[in-house]
Every structure is written in C-alpha cells, then in structure tokens.
Symmetry: none
Subunit: 219 residues, 4 copies
DNA sequence: GATGAATGAGCGTTCATTCAT
DNA sequence: GATGAATGAACGCTCATTCAT
C-alpha cells in the first residue's frame, strides 16, 4: 500500500470515487501535483511524472486519456472544495446563530480557508497558474463556483450592513476588498515567504484587524 | 518602419539599447509578448512567434540566443520600471515637500502604478506567471528590486508613523497590506474584469479609503 | 449463446475445430473480420476488436497468441474453401458425367464461386489485401492451394480442348483469362458497386458469354 | 545531386512543381514509395522512411505536414496520369483518324497502359492497396477521374458499335469486360508473376485476341 | 543581417502483449 | 477461462536550435 498523503485523500474524497482509485493511480496524481506545481503544466512532461510516480508512461494514459485530463482531475475538484463553506443550505441561520458580529464571522472564514490553503498549497498553486490558460476551468469557475459563493457572500455583507456593522459600500466592492486581502495573505504566506520570523496567528489577526478597520464605520 | 506600440517603446527605452533595435527585432518582441501572455512561456513556440512577427525562425535566434533569453529580455526590464518611482535619490525630500499627508502620498503612488499597469498589462501578466519558474527572475527580484523598494517604502512608512498618520504596526506588515490591496486591485481590474459597470476613479478612491481606514489611527 | 453468423459457421467448420470454439472466441473472430476488412490489418488495433467483441483485451491473446495469428486463423481457411470445388477426388468422372459441354461447366463454377464470394466478401477482402504482406499466406497459397486447383483446372481445360470445345491456347493462358474475368466480376460486384441498376443473373450470363466467345473456336 | 529515378521524375512532373522539390524531398518520396509498397501505408513507419531516405525524421514533416499527406502526394497524381490518354480534347477525331478498327484501338490502349504500368508498378500497387481506406482518394477517383475516362470510353464503344465492330451490349458492360481483362493482365504480370517463361508480346496479343473474340460479332 | 531547410531529442499517445487475480 | 491493469517500445509529430546560403 502506498503512502497516500492526507491532503490528497481529502481532495479526492470529493468525488466519492476515491475507493475506485488504484494504488498506482494515486501515485500518479501525487507525482503530477508535485511536478505541475513546480514547473507548470506546459513545462512538465508525462514521462517525468511517470518516472516520479514509479509507473510506466502508458499507465498514466490508461487512467487519464490525455495529459490535460490528468490536470483537470487534479484541479477541478479543488474549486468546489474552495468555496464549500458557502455551500451550506441555511446560510442565513448559520449567520444569525453562530456569528453575532462581523469580526467573528470574518475570523472564522479566514481561519478556515487559511487551513484549507495550508493543506492544498500545491494544488491551489497549480489552479491559480493554469486557470488563465484553460477555458474549461474558467467556465467552471464562472458558471458554477463564483455565483454560488458570491450570492452567499453578498447576503452576509447585506446582513451585517443592515446591522450597521459594515460601511455602506456596494457588496461587490466590499467583497473585493476582503477577498483581495485574504488571497493576498495566503499568497504571501505560502508562495512568497521563504524564511523568516513570521507568526501565523499574529499576522492573521493583523490582517483581520486591517480589513475590519477598513470596512467598519467609525463611531 | 513598423508600428512600434508606445508601451513597448517606453519599456525598451529602459535598456538604453532601444536605438540598436532593428525593425524586425521590435516585431519579434511585440509578437512574443502577445503569445507569451496568451499561452504562457512553456506553451508558446518560437515558430509561432516568428510567424506572427513575420520573420524567419532563424532571425529570432540571431537576436536572442535562446527562447529563454527572449523571455528575459521582455520580462527583466519590467521589474526596474515597476519600482521606478521609488528609485529617486532624495526620496525623503520628495516626501516632505510633495506629500504632506499619507493620503496624498498613497493616492499618488496608486494612481501612478495603476497607469503603469494599464500600459504594461501583457508584460506584467507574463512576469507574474513566469516568476515562479525562473530562478533568474526570482533572484533579480529579491536581490535588486525588492530591497530598493522596501528600503524606500519602509522609510516612508516610518515617516508617516512618526507623524501619527499611520498606526504602529511593523513596516513590513503595513507594506504587505498596502501592496496586497494595490496588486489585488490591479489584478482584478486588468485580469479578471470582463465587462460591466466599473468606474476606475470611483473604485480607486474606494480602495484608497479602504487602505487608509484600515491603517490610520482612529481619533 | 451469441448469434453466430451462418457464413462464419461455415468457414470455421473447415478446421473441424468449430466445436471447441467458445462463445467469446466466435465474437472475437466476428469483430476482427469486421474491423480488419474496414481498416486493414495494420490499421486495426486489438483493443478496438476487443471492445467490439465485448471481451477483455487479454481474452484475445488467450486464444490467439498474437494479433497476426488471429489474422491467419481468419484468412488461412478461406483459401482451402476457395478452391474446394476442385478438391473432389474423381474430378474427371464428375466432368464427364455432369458437364457435357464447357458452357455448363463454366456456368456451374462461376455461379458456385459467386455464391461463395457473396457469403465471404469480408474475409475475401481481407485475404486479397493482406496476401502481399504476409509470407505465410503467400507460401500456403503457392504451395498447397494453387497447385491443387491448377492441376484440376488444367485437366478440365485439356478435356474440353480435346473435344474441340476450347481453342488451342496453353492451359495456363486460358486459366488466366477465365480467372481474371471471374475475379474481376466478383471484385466489381462486391467491392466497387455502390448503387445502381445491376442484375446479377444478367451480368453473370454476359460474363459467361464473354468468356466463351473469347475462348471457343469459331466454326 | 541525388539519383532521381526516371519514373519518379515523370510522375512528379505532373504537378509542374518538380522544380521546387529539394534533393532531400525527392529522396523522401523515393524511400516512401519503396516502403509503402512493401509494407503498406499503415504498416510503414515514418522513422523507417527517414532512415532509408537518409534524412532526419523531422525533415519529412517539414515538407509533408502529416504521414497521410506524404501518401497523398505520391498517390494522388497517379490517378490523373492513369487516365491521361483519354484526356485528349478531340477524342473522336483521333478515333476516326488513327484507329480505323477496334483491334488497333484496343491494342494501342493496352500497350500504352502496359508501358505505363511497367513504369509505375510500385505507385500503382500503393494506389490499389490504399484506395479502400482513404476517402479522399475514393472521392477524387469517383468525382474527377472515373467520369472523364468513362465518358470517352463509352463514346469509343458506341463509335465501334455503330460500325458493327462491337457486339450490342450496353457500353458499361463492355467497358467492364475490357477493363477487367486489362487490369487482370497487369496485376498478373507485375504483382503475381515471380519467375518463369513469360513472353510479354505473346501474352499481350493473346489477351487482345481474347477480348476481341469475346466482344466482336461472329459473322 | 536574414533566411528557412535541416536536425534529432523529446513530446504526448497508442500499441500488442503479459500476468496476477 | 476470463479479466483488465500494467508495461515499455514504438509511433507520428513538434520543438528549440544550427548553419550554409
């Protein structure tokens, strides 16, 4: 039995097909993630993936008819997972019950997605890199992922605006500020940071405070 | 004489080698920028570039010994330009003389870099895409570009903190928030935005206010 | 039980091994005939055959160790069948008893082989196509099939020449004319003809008359 | 300068592009003809052709974008050449002036096409083999080649029928008999014959007499 | 300086065949 | 007997790069 990494298991569980995956198939995905994230899709060769996975090159094509389908099988599921927290049905109830103020809500979301990013850095990196070059990904994002999360996010924004906890900017503008700061935080933390003194807790809190100060009314 | 696009002229002027560039060479760079930005470096072929540029394949290699050097000749100069505003010698004097408060300074910088981004979207897109895959670019950025701009930026931050115009966070943290919001704004505007009602002036101002509220002390 | 087509049953009966053939084996042969005849041997893939036959790829190789042996198992038997009418022992007796004149003999042979061709078009097409590329087939034809039929055919030709019913050309020449016209007729009818008004009976008779006029003495 | 074989020169002259063909290109075509005719199109590999031609594999694809286009560039021109004798404008005049009786006409055609076949055996073999598998070839044959030759042939047949030199069968039937015997002769001579005592002149004359006796009225 | 034919390594993919289950 | 995952050699084709003209 091969050592299937936890993040991979979780990502694959999405499809409910994980069961069917053979040992070799998992090794292929694992190798592909590493190599794609290191060299980019177009810069990676299937022979290199096969070698790293310890399988014959033909084996890759038995499971994924083309190199591109291998990419999509890795990258497409991440999108659903990425916005999963917003997919709950009774979103408004959750809001009211669990998050009395915007700070707690924002902190919960940021923390949760930060953990998610930590688990899936490699796949997220591939996703960010390849989305401009693959129409299928862009379409999936625009048609199914983005609308879902935006709808819920705007609902939350209007909810807190009604309570006077957020300034009266149009929800898309607020959304943009928050998303930008969140994504910027994640990119900085996982893609740029190489070394030094960095305290996740502290910086996360600073980012939250920055967003809150930027978006809450001064009394 | 070929129609050399203004942004290209400006970018190339950097090297002070513009003079030496032949008509064909300019066409090559122009074609390469278009194709690299559309398909990524690894996904582009030199033959396609040659075709779009209207030159023979060999001509590309006469001017740029390798495909990679062609990329670097396009992408490397953008880095210097990107941080040019911070390269003035008497930075402190400029600060004191021209920007009495942080809002004006931030607005000036953001506006200026926004114009720059508008001119160089394609090259910037290539730059963002390729920097993770090319050590030379990363090195150049870390060794020459980043230090210069960070030094000046920290100086400015400390300057405004000393005047009580910025909250007392460590300069790198402040820098991160501002940079994240700026870059996020630019990416959103130029890479994601497809269509709709978007007012550059308005959104720029909103972004500035967001940053300011997030980073200035409440009285 | 699979629907085994009559022509196939007849062809396979040759080997006296028909009994041993499993259901799956028959499906494999059936699929192989269709695909070989449509795309040629070299242009067909075993995986496509397996798919069309509804069996696993491995199953083909359990029964026929190589792709080529599958071809030969289909094509080799057709040769024997092709010349079967000449394989009767007391050929001269049959001639004297049943065919008083050359016209009746020729008509009988042509009709009979025409029916045979109708039944086995696909396999015959494969045979014609592959014989130049497979030494085994060529050898089998030259060493066992051709001699047998030629011997009998020459006997018949000499028999009718002795009776003054055929002109005095060397038997091989006569054989060539007849064979050419017969094969030409069959190819035209089964491989070229796409559409139109064509009356088998009429054209067959015309062909017979053409051969007879060409080869019988004018009084 | 490479030794360009005469038959190849003649075949290529068709296109009036022969001039433009490089030395290597000719070697490629020459090697392709040999290998295709020996192993069939699907059974040949481009690497083998390159090796035999003494060029790099890439060179083949610089001149012929695909393996199939290489095949077509060889096989398509033969069709036009094949029926060239019927392409003369004033066909009826030629008939009346040069061929007072059907025997002379038939002999002229047969001899001429026999010489043609001698020159182009290899390419003709490829043509015969590949026509069932390539729609382009079939279309070209049905749409442009066949109609032209049939029109002229039927004209000649009716011409000789009007003079009482041919029996009153429908021209297509007559055409079929003649074509079958001609093609059969050629195939027998060039594709089947391996060795022995065979006198071209004698056998050609026998074939002509066979056709004539089969198709001319007995007085 | 510019060309484009030529190269050969390497690409993604398919293939006939094997073998543990 | 039947399966289908696995193989790795070979396929058609593209690539960045060279060099004689």
């Amino acid at each position: 039995m091969s050592d299937i990494e936890p993040w991979l298991a979780e990502l694959l569980r999405l499809n409910d097909e994980e069961e069917k995956m053979t040992d070799k198939q998992i090794k292929i995905v694992q190798a592909a993630v590493e190599i794609f994230s290191e060299k980019g899709f177009a810069g990676s060769s299937t022979s290199e993936i096969a070698q790293k996975a310890g399988v014959a090159e033909g084996t890759i094509f038995r499971h994924y008819k083309t190199k591109k389908k291998l990419l999509l099988s890795i990258v497409a599921p991440i999108m659903a997972k990425l916005v999963a927290p917003f997919a709950v049905k009774d979103f408004t109830k959750v809001l009211e019950a669990d998050y009395p103020d915007v700070e707690q809500f924002l902190r919960a979301v940021l923390r949760n997605r930060f953990e998610f990013a930590r688990k899936h850095v490699h796949v997220l990196k591939i996703f960010l890199h390849e989305i401009p070059f693959h129409a299928e990904l862009r379409e999936q994002f625009k048609d199914t992922v983005a609308p879902l999360v935006l709808e819920k996010a705007y609902k939350a924004i209007r909810h807190f605006q009604a309570q006077g906890q957020l300034i009266e900017l149009p929800p898309p503008a607020i959304m943009r500020m928050v998303a930008t700061s969140m994504i910027g935080f994640v990119i900085f933390r996982f893609l740029l940071l190489a070394e030094n003194d960095w305290d996740d807790e502290l910086e996360l809190e600073r980012t939250i405070q920055f967003i809150l100060h930027g978006l809450t009314p001064r009394q």
